[in-house]
């Protein structure tokens, strides 16, 4: 804008200066005796071409490009207005392509790039440890988190932060009230709100006096959402007490509405870290030196660079390493976002790249369509181009003109698409989130456009404009002036091989890209189907599962054992119940335990997942013992017996009898194998070959246990019976009862989302590509009407003409399709985690999808081919 203003000013000045010159010259002529009119005319004559002088003077200032741009824009707008149908088609295609890309980027931005919604968020960094070497460490949450003593080291010895806070991100807590409710809260150090510079809207945040001694400060800051939802926005809540995990806490503050914590999942409340033992029900983490459980956020002092932060903290990390021989710590320091810790990034990056690529491919197809439209139009405009070239415009000037038109198109399309995206993606995200498993459906993503999204949209739009505009611009500005001006339009388009080659390549590329997307969608659908029909190796029908989370409801081991025993008795009495078992985790429940195991005398350590189960477990879930025996009543937690799966036995003792062999867990104990169980997909659906162990459960496991009940008949009365039994034993009991089969749903959800996503992208791609094929075919028909007419006049029958047209149209489709199939075969392994054991080259998908695409392409080219067949030779020969 400023540039524009400067330019206008200079134009005015130039005009004034020249007028002055003319007046002076005229005045002098008058003084020499010329008449007023002659003087003015003479002065003008002597001056020469005023506009030309202006133009050369402007050149001196280097303003020429601006003026050219202005001309190009004006001309471009006029040209686009002249062909509204073309403009509309192109703008819509680009709007679609750019829109979905901007939309998905705004989601990713909300997930991973957006800064925390706190004052000066750019100063706040997340500090994570990445540990290397041979060491053992307990992990609660993510491996990159730190222990409390480690946090104190970083806090007290750094010279780069104005404050460093730590918090345990997800503490699962039961809030007592009119009904029991499960919430996720955070345990924080008392400088948490000060470091974030985010102060409660009502009441106060924590001060140092809230963190005096373990267990001494039962205070809580609740989120605005919790305050409104559970306490009906009660203005008198401050100072009252609420019951969290059976301990009462005084509400001292209510967080502002816009602050939902520092994690993807909104935090419902914050409690001082000194209350850890009470909130985490019994386990003391504060003293544990070698435990990953706290995330750290530091506010960097003004003027301190990231490099300085890293150097300063690395010294402290090095000092900590000295306490643990064999361990080396490297630090990951990044500006804090909702999803930025290294363990989270590890999940995010591959998923993101696959998604962005898929969306980008659709845009690519749209670009190819617009390119083809432009190329087709170029044959109409070639006379205009020839004329401009012949009166002295340079080719570069024409290319620039054509690119300006493309950019105008892409800007219009990009703006429209971005607006649609901003408007619709908030609701789309909510829809997707609601399809996610219950635990994460509360996740909130702020998809509102910010500067990063706008920059992305603009960059994408510009790149798009150049991508689809460059080839047509280069092609249509290269002309044989002679023939072009003579008006033989046919030579330009259909006669010349290279013109058709470019357009065919574009169609081929569209089909190839479309094939990749459709194949991916096909594979995902097959995977989804498989997830519904897969045999997980255990019998999940006719089993009801109840999660008894007694620890967080204030139970100790004795009371928990009594409760579980009582529940077992009343459930066993329900009609239809045949067997009852307990386990630390239900199969496929995403509740997993694991440890480092090794065979004594060997160097190799293996991370193996395990479950602690009661003797009835294996028979309740229908996993047979293939060798040795199952657990008996004498096997209790702490006993040295273990049951291994077949895969584990094969992996650890290949070719040997595993019975009686010894297995040792680092730092825990030694076990001997008493039996071998059949492999089952208990921890990962679709992966039967993972190693797995079963240990006997003991009374301690009653604090948190899954009760699995096998029954015959209907599940509803059994589930209701269990619910009633649980509440009759303790009316406050939080009840979570469901069918074992329902756990499959959680596994299917990502694959369902992915297949819906891939399916809709594939559908869009198919639509765009078939428009491309159709456009190409009908264009080539309309260009070769004369040729067809001659052929028919010479005796070709309509069927032959049809074959000719179809052959021409299908060549690029076939070639592109082949390339697409090969391309997809090369990259389809990225989907393998969603295919549940289905091969990434599943023949059914790889045969049916290409057939389907070919059919669609055939139909798309059949319609114009039929038109060609009806060509009247006489009309055709007179054509043009």
């Amino acid at each position: 804008m400023k540039l524009w203003w400067l330019w206008r000013k200079r134009e005015r000045e130039l005009e004034k200066e020249i007028q002055h010159h003319l007046q002076m010259a005229a005045k002098e002529r008058r003084e020499r005796g010329a008449s007023a009119r002659d003087a003015a005319a003479g002065a003008r004559r002597e001056f020469g071409n005023v506009e030309l002088v202006k133009e050369v003077a402007r050149d001196a200032w280097g303003w020429r490009w601006l003026e050219n741009l202005y001309e190009d824009l004006r001309y471009g707008l006029r040209v686009l207005r002249q062909s509204p149908a073309f403009t509309l088609a192109a703008v819509l295609a680009i709007a679609l392509g750019v829109g979905i890309n901007v939309g998905i980027f705004s989601v990713l931005n909300g997930v991973a790039l957006r800064l925390l919604p706190i004052p000066h968020a750019e100063q706040v960094v997340s500090v994570n440890q990445v540990l290397h070497g041979r060491f053992s460490r307990e992990v609660h949450g993510e491996g990159g988190l730190v222990s409390y003593p480690e946090y104190l080291d970083y806090r007290d010895h750094n010279g780069v932060f104005s404050g460093l806070a730590a918090y345990e991100p997800f503490v699962e807590v039961t809030l007592a009230g009119s009904r029991m409710e499960q919430l996720y809260g955070a345990l924080t150090t008392c400088n948490f709100f000060d470091v974030l510079n985010e102060h409660p809207a009502q009441g106060r945040g924590f001060t140092d006096s809230d963190c005096t001694a373990p267990g001494a400060n039962p205070v809580v800051v609740v989120s605005d959402d919790l305050w409104r939802r559970n306490f009906r926005a009660d203005p008198a809540l401050l100072g009252k007490t609420i019951l969290l995990n059976q301990t009462s806490y005084t509400v001292i503050g209510i967080a502002p509405r816009a602050f939902s914590g520092t994690e993807m999942l909104p935090t419902a409340f914050w409690v001082p870290i000194t209350m850890q033992k009470a909130l985490d029900a019994g386990e003391d983490y504060l003293a544990a030196d070698n435990l990953s459980w706290l995330a750290m956020l530091g506010r960097v002092r003004p003027g301190v660079s990231r490099k300085q932060v890293r150097a300063d903290l690395s010294v402290i990390a090095g000092r900590i390493d000295r306490r643990y021989p064999g361990r080396t710590t490297s630090l990951v320091i990044s500006t804090a976002t909702f999803f930025g810790r290294p363990d989270e990034r590890e999940v995010l990056v591959p998923v993101t790249s696959v998604i962005l690529t898929a969306f980008g491919l659709v845009l690519l197809i749209a670009c190819a369509n617009v390119s083809n439209l432009l190329l087709a139009r170029a044959s109409v405009r070639h006379k205009e181009m020839a004329l401009r070239l012949s009166i002295g415009a340079s080719r570069w000037r024409l290319v620039r003109q054509l690119l300006t038109e493309s950019l105008l198109l892409s800007l219009a399309g990009g703006a429209l698409g971005s607006l649609l995206a901003f408007w619709s993606f908030a609701s789309i995200t909510r829809l997707v989130a609601s399809a996610l498993p219950r635990e994460v459906s509360a996740l909130t993503v702020n998809v509102a456009p910010d500067i990063q999204v706008l920059a992305y949209a603009l960059a994408l739009t510009m790149v798009t404009g150049i991508a689809f505009g460059l080839i047509p611009a280069l092609k249509s500005s290269r002309l044989d002036l002679n023939t072009a001006l003579k008006g033989d339009s046919a030579q330009f388009s259909s006669g010349k091989k290279s013109g058709r080659f470019v357009r065919n390549s574009l169609v081929g590329a569209q089909v190839a890209v479309c094939m990749v997307l459709l194949l991916a969608a096909g594979l995902l659908l097959r995977g989804l189907n498989r997830a519904q029909t897969v045999d997980p190796g255990f019998d999940m029908k006719n089993v009801v599962v109840a999660l008894l989370n007694l620890k967080i409801q204030g139970y100790d081991e004795t009371r928990a054992t009594a409760y579980v025993r009582g529940l077992q008795e009343s459930v066993a009495g329900l009609p239809g119940v045949t067997d009852i078992a307990q386990a630390e985790s239900a199969p496929l429940s995403h509740d997993r335990s694991g440890g480092d195991f090794f065979v004594p005398g060997r160097d190799e350590r293996l991370g193996i997942g395990y479950n602690r189960v009661t003797p009835e477990y294996l028979s309740v879930v229908g996993i047979p013992i293939v060798r040795g025996r199952g657990f008996g009543q004498d096997d209790w937690r702490g006993a040295s017996s273990v049951i291994v799966t077949e895969s584990t036995a094969r992996r650890l003792w290949p070719g040997e009898d595993p019975l009686g062999k010894t297995l040792r867990q680092s730092g825990v104990g030694e076990y001997s194998v008493i039996g071998v169980a059949k492999d089952a997909q208990v921890s990962q659906l679709g992966e039967p070959d993972t190693t797995f162990l079963y240990f006997p459960a003991g009374p301690r496991d009653n604090l948190r246990t899954y009760m699995l009940v096998r029954f015959s008949g209907g599940s509803t009365p059994i589930a209701k019976g269990i619910r009633d039994a649980m509440q009759s034993l303790d009316p406050n009991m939080l009840v979570d009862v469901g069918k074992l089969e329902d756990y499959l749903e959680v596994w299917r959800a990502p694959s369902r989302i992915a297949s819906v996503l891939a399916g809709s992208l594939g559908g869009l791609a198919l639509l765009l590509a078939s428009i491309g094929v159709y456009g190409m075919a009908s264009y080539s028909v309309s260009r070769s009407v004369r040729e067809i007419g001659i052929r028919m006049a010479l005796g070709a029958n309509p069927a032959e003409v049809m074959r000719l047209v179809l052959r021409r149209a299908m060549w690029p489709v076939l070639l592109g399709g082949l390339i697409g199939v090969a391309g997809c075969a090369a990259v389809s392994w990225v989907l393998s985690s969603l295919l549940f054991g289905l091969g990434a080259h599943d023949p059914i998908a790889f045969i049916s999808v290409p057939m389907f695409l070919l059919m669609v392409a055939l139909v798309a080219s059949y319609i114009p081919a039929r038109r060609a067949m009806r060509v009247e030779p006489v009309v055709a020969l007179r054509y043009e």
Partner: protein, 114 residues
């Protein structure tokens, strides 16, 4: 179409710049004044046409060898008046000595040493 003018500017460039700078050495002038001064001082021999003059003035202005101010003329009109800057003065010296060299050189060729 602008090629014709460009050629002539290039032909005159060094000399015209020199003439303009020299003219402005006597004091600030507007564009028309510069052309008239060159004409008068060369005994009507050198006529600088507007198509060369204004581009040259603007180019010199952009190079900061001359500055421009807007003044009100006696007939109450805004007039753009050019003046020599310090850098322009230096440039003038350079151009002058270069011109003298060329002039000497050509003179030497035309009148070989006796």
């Amino acid at each position: 179409m602008s090629e014709r003018y460009k050629n002539r500017i290039e032909l005159l460039q060094g000399t015209l710049d020199l003439l303009i700078l020299q003219t402005l050495l006597w004091g600030p002038q507007h564009g028309y004044g510069v052309s008239q001064a060159i004409r008068a001082n060369s005994g009507d021999l050198l006529q600088v046409d507007a198509g060369s003059l204004y581009p040259a003035l603007h180019r010199l202005e952009k190079q900061k060898w001359i500055g421009a101010d807007w003044k009100i003329s006696e007939n109450k009109q805004e007039v753009k008046v050019y003046r020599l800057t310090a850098a322009g003065r230096k440039q003038l010296m350079k151009e002058r000595s270069r011109w003298e060299q060329i002039s000497d050189a050509i003179g030497g060729v035309l009148n070989p040493a006796k």
